[in-house]
């Protein structure tokens, strides 16, 4: 029998006065996965995870998190969840080591090791107000991981971190996941979602509009690759040959610049075709569609590559459904 989902949300609705922020959202987070929640500002991502943690009371819907109802059983649930919240702080004059002591429960792992791991050991006597944005984020991450949570919720995890610190944090999240911890990650950083998440759910206007593995989302919503190269005087028949290649949808020539568009598989075919003609272009560039391209397509309400309506596969619906 498969392990039950760590998070199961059905028909979640949440409004602030007349503004509906979450509108009939379904979401499942399988045990042991890193699931990303992505979408534009105001899509309802943070409100969703706040409801999951029991920090906000939903207007409607059912939620089960680690087997508990976050509304009525928050006391049992919260010690099992580690979270790094957006827009929160610690008292200005609280020292780093004191924050570790304050948030440590009987289940806590050694704070010193975490401080070493995240490069804050030298700052253990520093007060919170003196920490840089990146140091604060790392401290929040340490606090989220401190008490060996079964579920970690990370909201804008690497906001304000430099590239090296981001990589360290990503490595820590992967390690955490390898140890069996389930992670729900809210992010605006598509490279972060692609690097960390096995599954992502895309939110728009309080609903999940599609979900699945990042590669599957890219395939469904942004599979067009673009290849460009310069060829002042293309040999006769070359452009016709490129047009006939499997997956090529468009070949354009503007002066010396040739642009080929089509499915990602054209990258290999076009490369193979070009090396048979002399001279080979020396400035060939390839734009491979990313999760960001897929997200932009989804958020702009675009349909799939061939004009078909967007639909979740049955496998996706295990992770997240659209509106009810």
């Amino acid at each position: 029998m498969s392990e039950p989902d760590v998070v199961s949300v059905r028909g979640l609705r949440k409004s602030y006065r007349a503004r509906v922020v979450v509108d009939g959202l379904d979401l499942d987070v399988p045990a042991g996965e890193i699931v990303g929640l992505i979408g534009a500002n105001g899509a309802g991502k943070t409100t969703t995870v706040e409801c999951v943690q029991g920090l906000r009371r939903p207007d409607a819907g059912t939620l089960r998190v680690l087997g508990y109802d976050p509304v009525t059983q928050a006391g049992q649930l919260r010690p099992l969840v580690g979270s790094q919240l957006q827009d929160s702080a610690l008292p200005d004059r609280l020292r780093v080591a004191e924050a570790i002591d304050l948030f440590s429960t009987a289940r806590a792992r050694a704070g010193g090791e975490l401080l070493e791991q995240f490069g804050l050991a030298a700052r253990r006597r520093s007060v919170f107000s003196s920490l840089s944005g990146g140091e604060r984020q790392r401290l929040f991450l340490i606090l989220a991981l401190l008490n060996r949570p079964r579920l970690v919720i990370l909201d804008e995890l690497t906001q304000g971190l430099d590239p090296a610190a981001r990589r360290n944090v990503w490595a820590a999240v992967r390690q955490l996941n390898d140890e069996g911890t389930t992670v729900l990650l809210v992010t605006h950083e598509m490279d972060e979602a692609e690097a960390l998440c096995g599954q992502v759910a895309v939110m728009r206007s309080g609903r999940v509009v599609d979900a699945g593995a990042p590669a599957d989302l890219v395939e469904r919503h942004a599979s067009t690759a673009t290849i460009r190269f310069s060829m002042p005087d293309p040999p006769a028949g070359l452009l016709d040959l490129l047009r006939r290649l499997d997956g090529v949808r468009q070949v354009e020539r503007s002066g010396a610049l040739v642009t080929v568009r089509g499915h990602r598989r054209i990258i290999a075919y076009v490369g193979a075709a070009l090396v048979r003609w002399e001279p080979v272009p020396t400035d060939l560039s390839v734009h491979v569609p990313s999760l960001e391209d897929a997200l932009l397509g989804l958020l702009n309400g675009e349909t799939g590559e061939h004009g078909e309506p967007v639909a979740c596969t049955p496998a996706d619906k295990e992770l997240a459904g659209g509106r009810r």
């Binding site: 920090l55 919240l85 929160s88 610690l90 008292p91 004059r93 609280l94 002591d101 304050l102 009987a106």
Partner: protein, 245 residues
Amino acid sequence: MSTAVGRLVRAELALMTRDPLVLTFVFAFPIVTMLIIGGAFGTTPDQAFDGVNPAHWYVASYLTVVIAATGLVMLPVHLASYRERGVLRRFAAAGFPRWSFAIAQLIVGLMTTAVACALLLAVAAPVYGLPAVHDGWRVAVALPLGAIAFVSIGVLLGSLLPSARAAQAVGLLIFFPSFLLGAGGPPPHVMGSVVRQVAGPLPLTLLTNAVRAPWLGLGPATGSLIGVAVLAVAATAVAAYRTAL
């Protein structure tokens, strides 16, 4: 102390020692004003002060000023600041038990009040002398009940007001009239009847009566004591509900 309340109390006390200016209003204001007003009215027993030494009248009154300053000014600003900046959300998300923060604030508020009261008496003793306590039990009941009531009111205000600046404005707006009418201002006998009627039911007036009258042998002030007790229970219940994490 490894319980959540214990950890919160320890952290709050450490933070307090690191930012002593925060305590200035609670510690210095009552002492300075007591010295000024006690000196202004002298030490000769006066009928306006129910026949007692005015300086002693104010020494017995100013303990409640300490309590009110803690509850109406210090705590609301502190809590509203925490809420405004997301500190309370972080405590809640970290799994601190539902009532732990309210209880911790109550304990810290009571400890602050106790220290400030001791300091006030330590300053008053060599200057005016400490008046004899006629009915120690009633004073001993009224002071902690009043402290609980005002600390709870402070916690409640901090949970209701939208920002630290709003909490400061509202706290001072409540504190100063209460202070002038109910504890540190002129004695009730010299007030006009309307002002006396307005002052009578104020929480700080009730508390001051409940402490001062049995202390100076001016009567049991049972009605005031009951009023303070009711206020303590009600304010604690509402504050705990409002600040549940």
